[in-house]
Amino acid sequence: MTDHIVHPVTGAHLGDNIVRAQQIEKYFGRNHVLRGLDIDVRQGESVMLIGRSGSGKTTFLRCVNFLEEPSAGWVEIDGLRVDADPLHTRSRAHLEQIRQIRIRSGMVFQEFNLFPHMSVLANLIEAPTKVNHVPKAEAIERAEAYLDKVGLTEKRDEYPQRLSGGQKQRVAIARALCMEPKVLLFDEPTSALDSDLIGEVLKVMEDLAHEGTTMIVVTHEMHFAREAADRVIFLEEGLVVEEGPPEVMLSEPTDGRTQQFLRRFLAD
């Protein structure tokens, strides 16, 4: 078991484990994609997952909120533990537990996935009012606060179609925040964006990280990881190869495979 290494300077602000993903395995048919991942995340920690294409980063992230059912292992968020149900019995109780895990976590997708038939505001208050039964006035107030945080107050009544990619992704982040989740999951949130729009999204994420939002981020933005990560985890073939604070991981990793990945990556 890797008792994770905590950043010596920033580690102090971190709380107890709020997300635990243990012994996570995933098969796609015979393809053994995740081979026993143990990743715990502490309250307020921002964890960046890096690794080459096909190493299982997305799959892991999707296992955390059960968009993919893990083949084995368990996930615990804020005290609620859900075991993998590999036989897909999908009992009512299991589905309800998964839903509770999803309420405790927010996900930001590469492709934004805003609801196109709803205004920005409606996107933001849909789940709080309909899932968490927050009174509408309160949900709107909350939505406006998060819109302000991502710098899009004036887009409140706009429809997603009329936003730029960077604006869409910032709305998507606000939408996830409106549920006040315990952890935010980001899967390459900037890789569908034109290069001039990446910065505005990373800026929002960096602010969140510094404010102590717990997050797990799959990213190829090494510069961003260096700025915003408390811990960087390098995955290869569904296993954690190496993890540590960004200064170490991105500058002087000890494992040869991490070194090779970074060399090739930074060469591009």
Binding site: N65, F109, E111, E126, A127, V131, N132, A176
Partner: protein, 268 residues
Amino acid sequence: MIAADAPEPGSVLYQIEDARARARRSFQVKFALTWVALVGGLVVALYVTGNIDTEFISTWAPFIVAGAWVTVYISLISIVLATLLALIGAMGRMSRNPYLNGVASLYVSLVRGTPLIVQVFFIYLALPQVGVVLPAIPSGIIALSFNYGAYMTEIFRAGIQAVPRGQREAAQSLGMPERQLMWRIVLPQAFRIVIPAIGNDFVSMLKDSSLVSFLAVEELLYRAQLVGRQNFRSLEALIIAATIYWILTIAFSFAQQNLEQRMARGDR
């Protein structure tokens, strides 16, 4: 777009645009003339050869035309019921429950595998034998609804499946229960996808509703046949009926195009 800002008169661009516009106009004029010549020629030919009894037309046209209301009314009710059936059918066809799926699939298979006229007679003539006696108009509406509902089931299923997977995943990741996900996220988007198809089906329904004339429902065709036979003036009577059907379908197709354009322009 080059033509967006009007090119200066005399410039080459202007000349090209001008030539194009003239060609378009010329095409439209010739196209319209062809229609007028063909239709007008037919009418004149029938008239001068003494085959048309204008007195019959002026006496009976109002009676036949009044049947158009019944046609429209039956079609409108039937398309609404068919839409509801299609919605239920599509849910059934996509259900993981084998019983629901079985029922829905049997419905689609049976209806699509038999002629509409057989279904019309079945409901009106065969059901009374097992004690179910329905008046003519309800019988016709039920037959049309069931028939179109089955075809539209497949359209709805395709429409629902055409909603991007990311939409479901975004909703799931926010903790939405399956029912809310369906009603608030997937179906509103699926509806927009299938509206053109519903419009097309409505236009077909206007014509297929003529089959209920076999049940002595006094709609357009029935009235035409009735007075045509009585007066030995079927040619005139059927020309009137056909013309009304034609006008109805053109009018509704036109209305549908307008609606679609407005939807395409409006916010999605």
